[in-house]
C-alpha cells in the first residue's frame, strides 16, 4: 500500500501452509486475511502481492509464480482471481530447470507491483490464485469519495 495508508491492525504479510492436494489440481490454503487500514488519501490503494512456491519430494522449494492484484475499491464480498507468472531464463537455464528444477527469481519484489521496469523481463504464464475478500469502508462518502 502507498504512503498515505497506515496499517492499524492485522498482519501485513504471511505465509500459508503447504497443501498436498489429493483430489484435483487445486491446492487449498484456506489462509485467513484480516487487515485494517486507515488512510489520508486515495493514492496507493492497497494491493495484494503473492508469491507461490512449490515444495518437491526432496523438500526443495522452487518458485512457481509471482502476482499482484488490487484490493477491490467497492465494499462487499469479492471473489478475485490473481494471475501469476514467473521469470523465464535463457534456453540453457530452461533446459536445466526441466531436469533439476529451480529457476530464476527476482532480486527485488518491487517489480511485481510496479510497471516501470517490467519491460526488461521475459516471463511465462503460471496458475491463478483465488481470493475471497470482504471489504468494509467507513466515512468515504463524507469526503466526497464514491467507491
Amino acid at each position: 500500500s502507498g504512503g498515505a495508508w497506515k496499517l492499524l491492525s492485522g498482519l501485513r504479510e504471511g505465509q500459508t501452509q503447504v497443501d498436498h492436494p489429493q483430489m484435483d489440481d487445486v491446492a487449498y490454503w484456506c489462509h485467513p486475511i484480516d487487515v485494517h487500514f486507515a488512510t489520508k488519501g486515495l493514492q496507493g490503494w492497497p494491493k495484494l502481492h503473492v508469491q507461490v512456491w512449490h515444495q518437491d519430494a526432496f523438500g526443495r522449494t522452487e518458485l512457481f509464480g509471482y502476482g499482484f492484484c488490487h484490493v477491490p475499491s467497492s465494499p462487499g464480498f469479492h471473489q478475485l482471481e490473481c494471475v501469476t507468472w514467473r521469470p523465464l531464463g535463457s534456453w540453457q537455464e530452461q533446459l536445466s530447470q526441466l531436469f533439476v528444477g529451480g529457476g530464476p527469481q527476482l532480486l527485488s519484489s518491487d517489480l511485481i507491483y510496479t510497471g516501470a521496469d517490467r519491460y526488461r523481463l521475459q516471463t511465462c504464464a503460471m496458475g491463478t490464485v483465488h481470493f475471497q475478500l470482504a471489504v468494509l469502508l467507513r466515512n468515504f462518502d463524507r469526503y466526497g469519495v464514491e467507491c
Binding site: 489520508k40 488519501g41 486515495l42 493514492q43 490503494w45 494491493k47 509471482y66 502476482g67 499482484f68 492484484c69 488490487h70 484490493v71 477491490p72 475499491s73 467497492s74 469479492h78 490473481c82 494471475v83 501469476t84 507468472w85 523465464l88 511485481i112 507491483y113 510496479t114 510497471g115 516501470a116 517490467r118 519491460y119 526488461r120 523481463l121 521475459q122 516471463t123 511465462c124 504464464a125 503460471m126 496458475g127 469526503y143 466526497g144 469519495v145 464514491e146 467507491c147
Partner: protein, 207 residues
C-alpha cells in the same frame, strides 16, 4: 481530502487495475504498451500514463493464456466528463525473423461507475486493402500499423480502415471517483455497467 469541505470545482477519477492476460491463439512471446487518451479538460495528477510490459510466454503445460499481470495506477482530474479517459492497448511480438510486429490494437473507456470491473477487449490490426501491398508486406515482413495507436480511440477515419481481429486482452479496473456527486453528476446505473460487452466475451469462449 481536506479541500473537500469547500465547494469543489473539479472531480477526481482514480483508476487502478491491471492488464491481466490475453488470448492470442496464433502468437506467443508478446508484450504490450498502454496509454490513455482523454479530452482537453482532463489532466493526469499522479501515476504513470503509459507503460510497457514484460515479454510473456504461454505456459506449455496448462492454459493457453498469456499473463502480464501489469499494473495500472493513474489519477485524473477534470471539470467536464466529456472526453472521459480511454485506455489504448497495443500488443507486439516477434515474427518468424525476430522483428517486432504489432499483433493487436484495442481501446476501451475507463468504467464510469466506481468499483471493480473487468473488461475484455477485442484486439485488431490494420490490413492492407490491395493485393499488391499484401504481397509486398509478406515479402518484406513489414506489416501495416498505426503511426499513432491513439487513433483506435477515435471515431474519425474508420470508414477507410480495414482490420482483422485476432485476439482478446482482459483488463481489470478498480475505479474510485471523488466529488462527482457533489458536482451533480450521476453515474449509478448498475444494470448498464457491462451489458454491452457480454457479446464479446461470448466469442472468447469459442476457442
Amino acid at each position: 481530502m481536506a479541500a473537500a469541505s469547500c465547494s469543489p470545482t473539479v472531480f477526481l477519477l482514480m483508476v487502478s487495475g491491471q492488464i491481466e492476460r490475453a488470448q492470442f491463439p496464433e502468437f506467443d512471446d508478446l508484450y504490450c504498451k498502454y496509454c490513455f487518451v482523454y479530452g482537453s479538460d482532463w489532466a493526469p495528477t499522479s501515476g504513470l500514463e503509459e507503460g510497457i510490459s514484460q515479454i510473456t510466454s504461454k505456459n506449455r503445460n496448462a492454459r493457453r493464456d498469456l499473463v502480464w499481470n501489469f499494473p495500472i495506477d493513474v489519477t485524473f482530474k477534470s471539470t467536464n466528463p466529456f472526453g472521459w479517459p480511454q485506455i489504448v492497448i497495443s500488443v507486439y511480438g516477434p515474427d518468424l525473423f525476430g522483428n517486432d510486429v504489432v499483433r493487436g490494437y484495442g481501446a476501451v473507456h475507463v468504467p464510469f461507475t466506481p468499483g471493480r470491473h473487468e473488461r475484455v477487449l477485442p484486439m485488431f490490426v490494420p490490413e492492407s486493402t490491395s493485393r499488391l501491398q499484401k504481397l509486398t508486406s509478406w515479402l518484406t515482413g513489414r506489416y501495416p500499423e498505426f503511426t499513432d495507436p491513439k487513433v483506435v480511440a477515435q471515431g474519425e477515419g474508420r470508414e477507410v480502415t480495414r482490420v482483422r481481429s485476432q485476439g482478446f486482452v482482459t483488463l481489470s479496473f478498480n475505479v474510485v471517483t471523488k466529488d462527482m456527486k457533489k458536482l451533480g453528476y450521476d453515474v449509478s446505473s448498475p444494470n448498464l455497467a457491462s451489458s454491452s460487452l457480454t457479446s464479446v466475451t461470448d466469442g472468447m469462449h469459442n476457442f
